[in-house]
Symmetry: C2
Subunit: 182 residues, 2 copies
Amino acid sequence: MALMDAAARLFADQGYSATTIRDIAGAAGMLPGSVYYHFPSKTALLLEVYREGVAGLARRVDSAVAAAGGEPWARLEAAAAAHLETVLDQSAYAKVMIRVLPDDADDGAVAKELAAARDEYESRFRTLIGALALADRADARLLRLMLLGALNWTQTWYRAGGASPAAIARDFVKSVKQGVSP
Amino acid sequence: MALMDAAARLFADQGYSATTIRDIAGAAGMLPGSVYYHFPSKTALLLEVYREGVAGLARRVDSAVAAAGGEPWARLEAAAAAHLETVLDQSAYAKVMIRVLPDDADDGAVAKELAAARDEYESRFRTLIGALALADRADARLLRLMLLGALNWTQTWYRAGGASPAAIARDFVKSVKQGVSP
DNA sequence: TTTAAAACCAAACAACTGTTTGTTTTTAAC
DNA sequence: GTTAAAAACAAACAGTTGTTTGGTTTTAAA
């Protein structure tokens, strides 16, 4: 859908509140009012774009994990690589999920739905990390939040041309697995 | 300054473009027009708040590192702890530096200044990590970006009452140092 | 070729945006 | 107590915001 594509790209590039309905309509080749034939409000448009982003990301990660075999660290690495490839290269929808905070939606009920969608996605990493054999003092929750934070923050510094998203993800996972000390 | 305090809090809580001059003026107890006696534009106000955030954060981190002794990992841990305490608990100004992206400023020249201010701050971590003894295949740049990303992303999930900012920072540094494998 | 739904246009709405202007109040030094 | 600068007010400005309304075109099935 051209309208959602345009909205996803603009939300990802400029953020939610800096993006106007006129921006979106123009990028989709229509007039502002026409947007309201397809979506009842700007917030509803964000919600659908966000959900599509979460769904697409989940699909890619799930399939990467399924193809990764049974070794827990390999499965986590596959998930991290798929996450980063999608968020940095493949999907403007997935970018929105990282760039737009749930409370950017002016509607409180929608904010909760955005947060819930993201939580459901991230639960995959809870499972993947739960399957790891960890050192006694390692905190699985903080490990998950550290890894996801490091992955998501790449959106602020990543530029095409350097290390590939998959290579970055592999490096991150390896670092937390083995440590960087000699 | 009450005006900058109000702006810092609102920028940190709602983001830059979702915050209006009227919001800021109201929170500071004055009328919208009065803001322009102190700052020539909304963008200029952001720039000063952002700079104050960077300066305060740099001050705290520098002093924590100086007090941490000479062991490189202890110095990095002290920097990470100071960073997180400031950003999560102490300073709305520092929060702005994390929440507001440079290109949120409508003015391109200001965006560059914001990015430059953040870069100057982060160079400290380049130095701190440069002093570490790393395993052969460890990438110092990715290590820095991973750690800063994990730290900065805490702003999206941290809630007072759980692990303290300093404890989170210590956990992150320990994880990348030693790894979490048994 | 008729028809009806889907999609879009054209134009406006009220509210809100950053900002400017001229005037008044507050502050503090003389 | 006078004075002048600093700070704030009151009111508007031009442009933009999300959204609505009623009419027109497009699409595709009958």
